[in-house]
């Protein structure tokens, strides 16, 4: 008996073609977390958190080292330091997200299923956002919580009420602009290395923009003007979305 007679049956179970973007995101996140190199990179990205945690512990518990005590500036510096890891993680996780699919013609497979281009892009975007949040927003908020724990008081948070919103806003802007730019560049090529190099170039060219955004969010007096920085960020995201809309399709049309 031919082997193919052994088993095709019709399917009578449940079908839930909802939240397909989450299927894409979940699978992508799981695949990356299963890689040792990715785990090592994430671990490395948490090293500054450990240093800052020790700094906050010493600064809040030993009066001789009170100068190490955290200020709003401490958190801004922490997030700016994390930019290096944001670059590495964005490239490691994001460069191949669409480029590899384009190389394997996987877009034809994806888009022949009951999902839209928006589902596909949202799924890929969430993969990057989760990893970027894991090395920026989560450690920064944990540092605030550690400060409260070590000092035994919420006075610092009450004195800096803008801190949590500032951390959230800066991390959101940083993650969104990084994720959109990386995905857009990844969609432009079938080579993830090419996408990585392009992204590194974009980061170099726009390095001051996020610093300016951080200064604005953390109310740091600075000669930089935040409004153009925010406009630049908005423009970057808009251009990235436009590129994604043009590139993510199952048919390459040459006119």
């Amino acid at each position: 008996m031919p082997i193919h007679d052994q088993g095709y049956r019709r399917y009578g179970g449940d079908r839930r073609p909802r939240r397909i973007w989450w299927v894409i995101a979940r699978t992508g996140i799981g695949a990356r977390i299963g890689e040792r190199r990715c785990l090592a990179l994430l671990l490395l990205a948490w090293a500054p958190f450990a240093v800052r945690a020790v700094q906050i512990y010493i600064g809040t518990n030993f009066s001789q080292a009170a100068f190490l005590g955290p200020t709003a500036e401490t958190f801004r510096e922490f997030l700016l330091q994390q930019q290096l890891f944001v670059l590495f993680v964005t490239i490691y996780v994001g460069a191949g997200l669409i480029a590899n699919d384009r190389r394997a013609h996987a877009l034809q497979v994806y888009l022949s299923k009951p999902l839209t281009r928006l589902d596909y892009v949202a799924g890929k975007l969430v993969i990057l956002l989760v990893f970027l949040t894991a090395i920026t927003w989560i450690p920064a908020v944990l540092l605030v919580l550690l400060q409260v724990m070590f000092s035994g008081s919420t006075a610092f948070v009450r004195d800096n009420l803008f801190l949590l919103p500032a951390i959230t806003a800066f991390c959101a802007v940083q993650a969104l602009v990084s994720a959109f730019a990386m995905l857009a560049l990844s969609s432009l090529s079938r080579s993830q290395r090419f996408a990585a190099v392009l992204y590194a170039g974009v980061v170099l060219a726009t390095r001051n923009v996020l610093e300016s955004v951080a200064a604005g969010a953390f109310r740091v007096p600075t000669p930089s003007i935040s409004a153009p920085a925010f406009l630049t960020v908005a423009a970057l995201i808009a251009v990235s979305m436009s590129i994604l809309w043009r590139q993510v399709r199952s048919v390459d049309v040459v006119t």
């Binding site: 031919p2 193919h4 095709y8 019709r10 839930r16 013609h105 996987a106």
Partner: protein, 324 residues
């Protein structure tokens, strides 16, 4: 997961009319200045249909239009009764697509890849994994299902493309050049699978191919495309019969005279085209074979071989696209 008998999910109630698998009405698709499909009106009935045409005839474009991946510039389409233009996602939920190009989800083994495709089509995770195993066995990749797809041979990749198209149990399968790049044994196995799917599992399917024997073996109905237009369509058996007799003919003589002979035959009311080593002549019932000898003699040719033949899909195709 609840397995369902084929008849339970396919056969419509007896009082309902049977809807075609897919219909196109005046569909036109343009890439820049080039019309890939021009005013195409075609019906693919339930069962197995072939979409025949030379390279560049518009087969893949039509398949992609039916999936909603290419938006037509004009016209309307329905798939299993659902309008593709209004709700492409709804239509795609009931359709499985096997692309022409080598396409797979990168960085996954076969079972993960196929299960992922099932999840993308809305199956719950556990059911998706179970279906993936079943379908991979069905397409003959059971033993290789834990291998990375990137390491698969061309033939195995064709099979996994079929598996990902089947895994969510579609009602309609769209297969674009399913035997591309396969060796003879693999091609034969693939054709058996396709025939099994359409004739024993009762799924509707549309096979786009430029290989006439593939369509002839697997399909009951055919739509012939030529340069973006429908050149012929209907049941293969009906198109083959066509109310004419077919003769296979070999002549000896000057090649230029052979050309003139073909022209003379055509002007006498027959249809005639060349195959590799012989002419195939379609004669209306009213004409007799004696006329062939007379016309050959007029051109200074000798008929060395004359044999009644059976109409083939190749004849239908050649007839539809102009005898070339």
């Amino acid at each position: 997961m609840t397995p369902v008998e084929p008849s339970a999910c396919v056969a419509p109630p007896p009082d309902l009319p049977v809807r075609p698998a897919a219909e196109l009405h005046g569909v036109g698709v343009r890439y820049g200045a080039v019309w890939a499909l021009q005013n195409v009106t075609a019906t693919f009935p339930r069962g197995a249909s072939g979409l025949l045409g030379a390279n560049g005839a518009g087969k893949s474009t039509m398949i992609k239009a039916l999936l909603g991946l290419v938006v037509p510039d004009r016209g309307a389409m329905t798939v299993l009764g659902a309008s593709v233009g209004d709700a492409p996602v709804v239509a795609r939920a009931r359709v499985g697509y096997m692309p022409e190009v080598d396409a797979h989800i990168p960085g996954m083994n076969a079972v993960s890849c196929v299960a992922y495709c099932a999840e993308l089509a809305g199956l719950p995770r556990a059911d998706a994994m179970q279906r993936a195993h079943e379908v991979l066995y069905y397409v003959g990749l059971g033993d290789a299902r834990y291998r990375m797809v990137d390491t698969y041979s061309t033939g195995m990749r064709q099979r996994i493309k079929l598996a990902q198209a089947l895994v969510h149990d579609p009602d309609l399968l769209l297969l674009d050049e399913p035997t591309n790049g396969m060796d003879p044994k693999g091609r034969s196995d693939m054709l058996e699978l396709i025939r099994d799917i359409s004739h024993r599992k009762e799924l509707d399917l549309i096979v786009a191919s430029h290989l006439l024997p593939d369509v002839d073996y697997t399909c009951d109905h055919v739509v012939v495309l030529d340069r973006g237009r429908v050149a012929a369509q209907g049941p293969i058996a009906g198109l083959k019969a066509h109310g004419r007799r077919v003769f296979e003919l070999r002549v000896k003589g000057d090649p230029d005279a052979s050309g003139r002979f073909i022209e003379t035959l055509r002007s006498a009311g027959t249809e005639c085209h060349m195959t590799d080593d012989a002419m195939r002549v379609f004669m209306p019932e009213a004409l007799s074979t004696r006329m062939l000898f007379e016309l050959a003699s007029q051109q200074g040719l000798q008929i060395r071989h004359l044999r009644p033949s059976v109409p083939t899909l190749e004849d239908v195709f050649a007839d539809a696209i102009g005898g070339e």
